[in-house]
């Protein structure tokens, strides 16, 4: 029998959920509003929420100063490229760990995760030197490679968790029907894990899109993505909040739209296997 929830309780929970959601969304809203203010209005105290002289001057200036589409294209290539390459490696790896575990599988998984605990600046110089010697500095290929490596542990972990939810008997049945290993992964496992793979993809694209250490340090002009575009608008001497907000709004807009359209898939993937 379903538990009855009183109207008052339901209203309270709804109000709480809205409050939390608005609190989480507020920084983005504030950035968006600030992007339409003059630099003076952006630093005014007390700040004005809606009643200020709205202007598009910041967007005009940002467009005039920077090649937005060049940076956006670089971000698209880097985030989708590293996700694709990461999946190529992670799907077989997660399959092996989920369906053919050895006594060291858990240790390997933990070791992979432990690489995320190292501050990236600790390996900046060796990686910079390798990139210099391999002529990968300021190249999209170099960034795709490094972001694949950076996000690989998370992809493997997520896929491993999803694959563990799939009964091994189904794969075994496919093998008995004569499916090869590749066919088993491609035609049996992958379709069943689509929600998990899709949410892993989306999460990885978002992580790669927002990555701001390697993308800043390993690029100059040619491969600089949107993180470098945003970073160019901060200044310790001079007012910059409004222009920075305009640049930030332009930088997060594509990924926000992608997230909006795919939110159902993302939520489904993230809760995959949560209820049996």
């Amino acid at each position: 029998m379903a538990r009855t929830v009183s109207t008052r309780r339901r209203l309270a929970f709804t109000a709480l959920a809205w409050t939390i959601a608005l609190a989480l969304f507020f920084p983005i809203l504030w950035t968006f509003l600030t992007s339409f203010k003059s630099e003076g209005a952006a630093i005014a105290n007390p700040p004005s929420f809606l009643f200020f002289d709205w202007t598009l001057e910041n967007y005009h200036e940002v467009q005039e100063r920077s090649n937005y589409f060049h940076h956006m294209w670089n971000s698209v290539v880097i985030s989708f490229g590293s996700t694709f390459l990461g999946l190529l490696i992670a799907v077989p790896a997660a399959w092996a760990m989920a369906f053919s575990p050895t006594k060291n599988t858990k240790n390997i998984l933990m070791w992979m995760l432990s690489t995320k605990m190292l501050p990236p600046v600790g390996v900046l110089v060796p990686i910079y030197l390798l990139f210099r010697d391999w002529a990968l500095l300021d190249t999209l290929a170099g960034l795709v490679l490094v972001l694949t490596m950076v996000n690989l542990p998370i992809i493997v972990w997520m896929l491993y968790t999803y694959f563990k939810e799939i009964p091994g008997d189904i794969l075994e049945a496919a093998r008995m029907d004569g499916a090869s290993l590749g066919q088993e992964i491609l035609y049996v496992l992958t379709p069943m894990a689509v929600p998990g793979i899709a949410s892993t993809c989306l999460l990885n694209v978002i992580l790669a899109w927002n990555e701001a250490f390697w993308t800043l340090n390993l690029t100059a002009a040619k491969a600089a993505p949107l993180t470098a575009f945003i970073a160019s608008y901060s200044s310790p001497e001079g007012l910059f909040w409004a222009k920075l907000s305009a640049a930030s709004t332009m930088a997060i807009a594509p990924i926000l739209i992608l997230g909006w359209f795919s939110q159902r898939q993302l939520v489904r993937g993230l809760t995959f296997g949560a209820v049996k």
Partner: protein, 437 residues
Amino acid sequence: MKFSKMLLGACSAIALSYPAMANTTLTIATVNNGDMIRMQKLTGPFTDAHPDITLEWVTMEENVLRQKVTTDIATKGGQYDIMTIGNYEVPIWAKQGWLLPLDDLGADYDVDDLLPAIRSGLTLDEKLYAAPFYGESSMVMYRTDLFEKAGLTMPEDPTWEFIGEAARKITDKDNEIYGICLRGKAGWGENMALITTMANSMGARWFDMDWKPQFDQPAWKNTLKYYVDLMTDAGPPGASSNGFNENLALFQTGKCGMWIDATVAASFVTNPKDSTVADKVGFALSPDAGLGKRGSWLWSWNLGIPAGSTKAEAAKAFIGWATSKAYTELVAEKEGWANVPPGTRTSLYENPTYQKDAPFAAMTLRSINAADPKASTVDPVPYTGGQFVAIPEFQGIGTAVGQQFSAALAGQASVNQALDNAQKITDREMRKGGYIK
């Protein structure tokens, strides 16, 4: 035979002329400030005169720029052909052999026109290692109306004693008027720029001649106590997180009686578009304590070429143009004299139109001339630098000490505790660096 010789000759001529005709792309790493952004829009005359040179700009926030260019030059990454660097980096990098000397920037460059204080900070063994694009010192900006109301007259060369008295007299916390706004945010280029110059003028120094840290000496205690007491009595709330931009906003909105900071701020606070007090601002030299040294700092943004560059000639041509008198005149023609990059050339300050359009010009020049990075302290020291110590370790040490002083300002530590910690941190790092055995 004759034809083949002609063909060979033609091929040789083409091959020899190729480098001259080849297009050279210069990648320029630069800082996000108004003058540098303006330059990116005004490069037309240069590229018209050098059609074989293409300019590619990489603009970054100061700290990101510093991290990236340092990594690149130290590892010989070769990502940048021209780097925008401060006068902190220039002597250190020049000593390491990381920069090309710039002693041949052309006959009409007029290197002797560079302001002596700025030029000396960029010179090692009589050679210029970077060309200054922009220079600044620090000075006092004050509200003439508040001073008048309080019956005070600001001298052109005030003392710290006068500044303290005036700040306390002007303060009206009920009406959100604070006598003085100073940097409190932790960082070697933030609060430590101000406190180090303040300490220099009060007889303190970072190190003695044996590189022993001096935070345990009375002069440092006097400096930090003066700073914390003054800001507690007459500073704005939350001052420990205020940097240049926060104080600029406070001053522009009429909440500060005085502000001691970079001379470049003068153009912001006198701009009626952004400042509500634009017509009520006066200027004075950074204060002293009667010991013969003023608390003026000296900073310049400069263009340098990494050693080993394969595009040195093109890079020199650009630097020679970007830091020339002709560029100053170009900016004046297109954007007005008030917008020309300040603080690098004597001729600019002798220009009557500039003096008229920039009311802060004379005080800026006096402030720059008052700074002496080669002898900034009362007692002798083994280092150069006004608001910094020109050693590679200073960025780390300066920020760590800045955190201690910021904590003292926030009331999280006493002055004595902050100084004790600063002494320990600095001593440890200097031992690690091999300065102290």
